[in-house]
Amino acid sequence: MGARMVPFAGWDMPVQYTGIVDEHKAVRQNVGVFDISHMGQFIVSGPGAEAFLNRVLTNNITKLQPGHGQYTLLLNGLGGVIDDLIAYRTSEREFYLVVNASRIDTDWAHLETQLNKDDEVMMANASDFTAGLAIQGPQARAVAAAVFGSANSFPEHNTILVTMTENGPMWLCGTGYTGEEGFEFFMPMETAESWFRKIVDAVKLAGGMPCGLGARDTLRLEMGYPLNGNDLSEARTPLQAGLGFFVDLDKGDFTGRAALVAQKAAGLPDKLAAFRMTGAAPPPRPHYPVAFAGAIIGEVCSGTQSPSLGAGIGMAYVPLDAATIGSILEIEIRGRRFPAEVVKKPFYRKPAL
């Protein structure tokens, strides 16, 4: 497909097919399809699965009805983020976790250390034999209808449909990483090729195109979604990352809870702030120094040129006094400082129709 390949978390991944901006706009206006086979899938089941996951994840999994999913975080004992993931309840006693490619081995090892002998939990790591496609954009529903023969198979936001087809099983998840309507479609590797062709054809017919990691990054950053490794790390808590909404401190104990409670009481040392370049400037990129009131106070975690806004955007951990909406930061780019304003997330809002 004329893709430019780059290594990413052990996979050769397409960074772009036609160009980041074209692909980005296709998703915002129409539809795009991403190969997300690199992502990891764990199946956690058994009579003790719910209690176990509630003990290791931050969100309250008992609130999940079968067929529904939630964004949640896996923390270390100090409250640092090991991974952010989506947990779906596929039945009363079974959960489907979709985790980041770069963290599959770390997550798995961590979950094993958290498991007790009498937990009555089974865990399976399906990552190696699961392929995935993300279909994202206003036409995603039309693509689902064309591929599955019915729009009824389209999974609504944060829901999952696990079903069997003549091509084998599939997991349809009403999630994405772009801020657009869409779904993520997981399947066994050996059935992937025929699905890939069908879906890419349907996407092209709907006026869309295959998209690479480059557009995936600009799309998610316009929404202010964090990327693990850039914006999340084991050195900072979800409270610092602004993800407190996905942490239920009242649900009972979980790994990292005590550290979060203590941090909340003591006050956050810094916070992930969203900033937008205020004038003509080179795009901010990860690791560029960030200054406030003349002094360097941190570095850019994620940064790019927003194709929708035509401006540089990014996120950085900064002290609370620098993190208030409207405060002026400076991003140091090749020795020169360019002004940026702290703004509210998301950077991009869909225009009202």
């Binding site: 980041i20 901006v21 074209d22 400037a281 080179p282 795009p283 990129r285 194709p307």
Partner: protein, 126 residues
């Protein structure tokens, strides 16, 4: 196929220079702009700077990456293309004319001979 004009000379890092003009305009090739896609910012050199052949003189930024631009020959930077400030996409749309980046007054015109001609550059990117 990329456009590789016959009258220009080329560096292996994908800059072109026009030896038939004095001072000589410098830009990036059609092949380079297609690889970079979506140029969003040009950080120009300073007029009056003396540069040597192969010296990094400025940076162009696409959505994907920041790329260094090198002087094809030694000389003085005598002009920069102000139009790129407001419209960096010119580099993508018109790499050999409206998208020139800077002009250099060569100090050693013999250096043109060390650059690739169109046929050699065409093989370089094949």
């Amino acid at each position: 196929m990329s456009n590789v004009p016959a009258q220009l000379r080329y560096r292996d890092s994908h800059e072109w220079i026009d030896p038939t003009q004095s001072p000589s305009p410098v830009g990036i090739t059609d092949h380079a702009q297609a690889e970079l896609t979506d140029v969003v910012f040009v950080d120009p050199p300073k007029v009056g700077t003396q540069v040597s052949a192969g010296q990094q003189v400025c940076v162009i930024e696409s959505v994907k990456a920041a790329s260094d631009i090198y002087a094809p020959v030694a000389g003085e930077i005598v002009a920069i293309n102000e139009a790129l400030t407001g419209d960096p996409g010119l580099l993508n749309r018109d790499p050999y004319a409206g998208g020139w980046i800077f002009k250099i007054q060569p100090s050693t015109p013999a250096e043109f001979e060390s650059l690739m001609d169109a046929a050699a550059y065409g093989r370089h990117i094949a």
